[in-house]
Symmetry: C2
Subunit: 139 residues, 2 copies
DNA sequence: TGACCTTTGCAATAGTGTTGCACCGGGTTG
DNA sequence: CAACCCGGTGCAACACTATTGCAAAGGTCA
């Protein structure tokens, strides 16, 4: 049997491609906006909340996805690019949170610049979110 | 009786200077790091949780403080500059969250640049946090 | 088959954010 | 003065998110 693209993508990050993980990855690939745990709960009602939670955690730990903290109160998750390590200042981009439709988007083209931090501050990664109205919700 | 600096600061933002509000503002002025609601609860144990919550909310609504969403899971609050409106791209700066001591700092000198957003996206404000180790916690 | 490890499901809990309502004190008005 | 109004505060309850412990299920391999 052939391995699906998503199975290979999981294995490339050293994640065992279980049924749940493959389904969640497939789902995230389809989405235009970052997903929340609640989104996964809604969409995979047959799977347990905890399993989905730990699936996302696994994705984070293996660098398959990154976490976004917007104003919605719940963390969002989006897939990383192939060789992404989510480290500052490379591999980090701006996000956009629409306060109207509550969607959060990755603007992967918009790399964040390298800021001139005070001495001795050691950056590791970052979270950059612009809030406003998305193209769909714009008045 | 003379009005204290903090009372004037409250009134300049059209906030009625009550005892709790003045105390909280004084406390925030002293802090080097942004404060959380839990911080206020710890420090003002005689005041009710809800009152402190609503105090912060009032500060936000009147532009006296801004809210920062870092990886700690709880929102942080820091005072705004005199004429700050917290609007993108002006009046927005970078923050630093130390994953070791859990403190979040305002780097008011580090203004964020104006990003070239896709068409029709209407920015309003933003949340910019770099995570790492602060000067105190650096190895 | 049986030991072993990983994944999943279920239950419970912690933590944060939020709201409704009642009370209180100060100021206003009749 | 009394009736009233109103913003601020306290208390309780609740919603939602995040997290953990433990046991059952499933897969791998000697
Ligand atoms: Mn992203
Ligand atoms: Mn700040
Ligand atoms: Zn929108
Ligand atoms: Zn630190």
């Amino acid at each position: 049997m052939e391995k699906s693209d998503s199975e290979q993508r999981l294995q490339s990050r050293s994640i065992q491609p279980t049924a749940v993980r493959t389904m969640v990855l497939d789902y995230m690939i389809e989405q235009k906006a970052a997903v929340s745990l609640a989104d996964l709960e809604d969409h995979f009602s047959r799977s347990d909340r905890t399993t989905l939670y730990r699936t996302l955690k696994t994705f984070l730990e293996h660098g398959l996805a990154h976490q976004i903290h917007d104003e919605s109160g719940s963390a969002k998750y989006a897939l990383c690019a192939e060789n992404c390590t989510c480290s500052y200042p490379d591999d980090l981009h701006v996000h956009f949170y629409c306060s109207s439709c509550q969607n959060t988007f990755c603007f992967t083209e918009l790399q964040i610049p390298s800021f001139n931090l005070p001495p001795k501050f050691q950056p590791d990664h970052g979270n950059f979110v612009i809030t406003g109205r998305c193209a769909n919700c714009a008045a």
